[in-house]
């Protein structure tokens, strides 16, 4: 089945529209075992290493079933780099989705316009028809996936599912054809319901936030140091399934509202509202600490960090901020800081 590649530093791409067009929404992830070389001929090395990594993979050649790319408005990097992707890749469908920075009624109207444009360009490029019925069916399917993910996520709280296992699962769901994703989730949930296995209870429950982390090995590293990611604020995580699309509203409008009502990303305004979500999560899941992980040069997260630090200090919840380089070889450098934090909490 043909796919539309998604280059998104958050999770604001309307997968339902891609599905209704007859394609598999396929989110692009990086590969932290490689170094950007070709990408460095296009983007200075002082820019986000994660987006350079994605460009490197794209130049080398993406999944052969991919027939087009959509990039969603994220930070300055993903926005400006779209033109470079246009330079480097040769797909007949390349769309930049301007998911708005703001979330009010004016922004909502604009987002609906932009989603309709995305839909129209898909139709025009591939000579297909995206009907409301198809959109509603896709929304229904995605809502089922989200509901299952929400339910499975709670097994982290019951210490029956590792954070790394859940992270790997969400990542997989963002690339699989959605029927397969649905079956996989149903089986996983059934297994969890039938299981009595507990992961080590003495692990320290933490909340992680920051740049979108797409390498599960970071979570594995945290677990090896005694942490349990009981909850997260990530795109490869709760932001992907936080709520559901209203199935009783006109589909495109409902999709727009869904994305603008999710917990706000650091790339949006006012990003300080992130703290309210984080505080609620920290309290609800009784976390022992919060770890905020910024990819090197990830400006939106770097801007928010001092505010989050101040607020968590006021709240009395231990908070650790680290900058990481998207390269597995460099992860060991984080060991010391993570270990010291584990000692502290």
């Amino acid at each position: 089945m043909k796919k539309i590649g998604i280059f998104d530093s958050g999770v604001e791409t309307p997968e339902e529209i891609i599905m209704a067009a007859g394609f598999v929404p396929f989110r692009l992830f990086g590969d932290p075992t490689i170094q950007p070389e070709k990408a460095n001929e296009h983007i200075p090395p002082t820019h986000c290493i994660w987006t350079r990594n994605l460009l490197e993979l794209a130049i080398a050649g993406l999944d052969e079933d991919i027939v087009g790319i959509v990039s969603s408005h994220g930070c300055d990097r993903t926005n400006r780099e779209f033109d470079i992707w246009l330079e480097c890749l040769n797909y007949k469908f390349m769309f930049f989705l301007n998911s708005p920075r703001k979330r009010d009624d004016v922004a909502l109207k604009f987002f609906i316009d932009d989603l309709n444009e995305f839909k129209d360009q898909l139709q025009d490029t591939f000579n297909i028809e995206i009907t409301n019925e198809k959109l509603k069916a896709s929304i229904h399917k995605m809502n089922k996936i989200r509901a299952l993910l929400r339910e499975i996520s709670e097994y982290r709280t019951k210490y029956m599912l590792k954070g790394s296992q859940f992270h790997a699962l969400v990542k997989k769901i963002q690339q699989l054809p959605k029927d397969e994703a649905l079956s996989l989730l149903e089986i996983r949930l059934k297994d969890l319901k039938a299981s009595n296995d507990l992961i080590a209870k003495e692990m320290k429950p933490i909340l992680i936030t920051g740049s979108d982390i797409d390498d599960t090995e970071i979570i594995v590293l945290l677990e090896s140091l005694g942490f349990h990611v009981i909850i997260d604020d990530l795109g490869v995580g709760t932001k992907y399934f936080w709520n559901s699309v209203n199935e009783n509203e006109p589909p495109v409008e409902a999709i727009a509202k869904y994305h603008l009502s999710k917990p706000i990303l650091s790339t949006k305004f006012p990003s300080y509202e992130r703290y309210n979500v984080l505080e609620n999560l920290a309290k609800k899941y009784e976390v022992a600490g919060v770890i905020n992980i910024a990819q090197k040069f990830c400006e939106p997260v770097l801007y928010d960090h001092p505010y989050l630090k101040k607020k968590f200090k006021e709240l009395g919840v231990p908070y650790l901020f680290v900058e990481m380089t998207y390269n597995r070889e460099s992860y060991s450098q984080l060991n010391t800081r993570f270990s010291a934090f584990a000692e502290m909490i």
Partner: protein, 424 residues
């Protein structure tokens, strides 16, 4: 090699006499800010690229912290302020304007040091960068003042006209909403007549600046960056006022006299350069060193960009009669942040029209939106149009990030390439 180069002696660069008036004009701007405080008049911080005209039209005194940050740099305070901000947790990799402002506020710096007063409200937009929005979010929270942000959709190389139209609608609606915001915060009403007057002044100011730039096409070039780097400030701090128009007209008149008499800013002009990016405000003298090779910068997209009326769809009639719609159109077509395809085309045209020998591209470590795409821009200019380019790594406000000697050596080698090309 000329005798001047052999002796290593720098030629005198003739700044326009009229440019000396800039100090007075900017002094009046800062006095107006002080006066607004004394009178209890509303004030607003605004980011560059935002519709400052609307503030003047609604009798709100604008302050531009970016302008203040350049003052800090020129007065050699910026590094200290930046380090103070870093001690607060703001990364080494974040914008040096932002950190200069954070440090200046923490230090209670006066205006002469690049300090800024607490405003009645803040106005930001992401037209140039995300940093502007994040920066004002940080400071609005600190000062506990309202903050209005205008979200400007990102125009990319394959944006269609159909998309552009609803982008414009989105920005326009926000601008009308911003008027309501000002009314609510200040109690000031929107006055169409005043808006028209401000718009006309802004148009006239920009047009004179563009006329000055037209004179820079002449060989020898009558004006150097000594006039333009500082000369740009009224464009983004005082668009809508009459005083800076008079200054620019004096600059134009004097430059025209030079052109008429065949006099250039340099005694001898061998190389004509373009400089892309924001200059090093902490070391403007650095650019004077180009004179040792009889090289002169004749065009800077950055200083030209702020004379915003260059979109042919935005006529004077539109600016006067539909200022909000015109502003929305302009915010979507700002020279400094053109999409890559337009940027390449515009650079090529500019190089041709201004008879430019080579392009210096500032990979500004503080301004990633500007430096993003620079490598492709360079490659296209060199490969497609045979235009020599040099990328230099530095920072606009953080002196720690400029390696003076190394950069100068790079420029010297670049000039040598230009010299060889001329000989060929």
């Amino acid at each position: 090699m000329s005798a001047t180069e052999k002796s290593g002696k720098t030629q005198h660069n003739k700044m326009l006499n009229a440019t000396q008036g800039l100090k007075n004009i900017m002094g009046r701007h800062f006095l107006a800010i002080e006066q607004a405080y004394r009178d209890g008049k509303p004030t607003a911080w605004a980011t560059s690229g935002s519709p400052v005209e609307m503030l003047y039209a609604m009798d709100v005194q604008p302050m531009l912290p970016e302008n203040s940050a350049t003052v800090s740099a020129a007065q050699k305070y910026s590094q200290n302020f930046i380090e103070l901000a870093e001690a607060e947790g703001y990364s080494y990799d974040l914008c040096s304007y932002f950190k200069t402002n954070v440090g200046a506020v923490l230090s209670n710096a006066g205006m002469a040091e690049g300090g800024t007063r607490k405003p009645t409200f803040m106005l930001s937009t992401d037209v140039i960068c995300d940093t502007h929005v994040d920066w004002f979010q940080v400071q609005a929270e600190k000062f506990n003042v309202p903050h209005y942000s205008i979200d400007v959709p990102h125009v990319v190389s394959n944006t269609t006209n159909r998309q552009y139209n609803y982008f414009k609608k989105y920005v326009t609606e926000q601008l009308y909403e911003f008027i309501e915001f000002i009314q609510e915060v200040t109690g000031h009403e929107y006055n169409e007549e005043k808006a028209k007057q401000v718009s006309e002044n802004s148009w006239n100011l920009s047009k004179v600046w563009q006329d000055i730039y037209e004179l820079r096409k002449c060989i020898p070039c009558p004006i150097s960056t000594r006039d333009t780097f500082g000369g740009l400030f009224p464009l983004f701090t005082m668009p809508g006022l009459k005083e800076p128009i008079k200054l620019y007209k004096r600059m134009y008149k004097e430059a025209k006299e030079r052109v008429d008499n065949g006099v250039g800013a340099l005694e001898k002009e061998d190389f004509r350069l373009m400089f892309e990016g924001i200059p090093f405000w902490y070391n403007l003298k650095y650019f004077g060193q180009l004179e040792r090779w009889n090289a002169i910068i004749v065009y800077e997209p950055y200083t030209y960009a702020f004379s915003k009326y260059m979109n042919p769809k935005v006529t004077k009639e539109m600016v006067l009669n539909k200022p909000i719609e015109a502003m929305a159109e302009l915010m979507l077509s700002f020279w400094y942040v053109y999409d890559l395809e337009t940027r390449i085309k515009k650079f090529e045209e500019t190089v041709r029209d201004w008879s430019i020998d080579g392009v210096l591209l500032h990979n500004n470590l503080s301004c990633r939106p500007n430096s993003c795409g620079m490598y492709d821009l360079k490659r296209h200019l060199m490969d497609d149009y045979d235009i020599p380019c040099l990328i230099i790594d530095a920072d606009m406000n953080d002196p720690r990030k400029l390696n003076e000697t190394q950069t100068l050596n790079q420029i010297e080698s670049f000039i040598e390439i230009l010299r060889q090309r001329k000989k060929a």
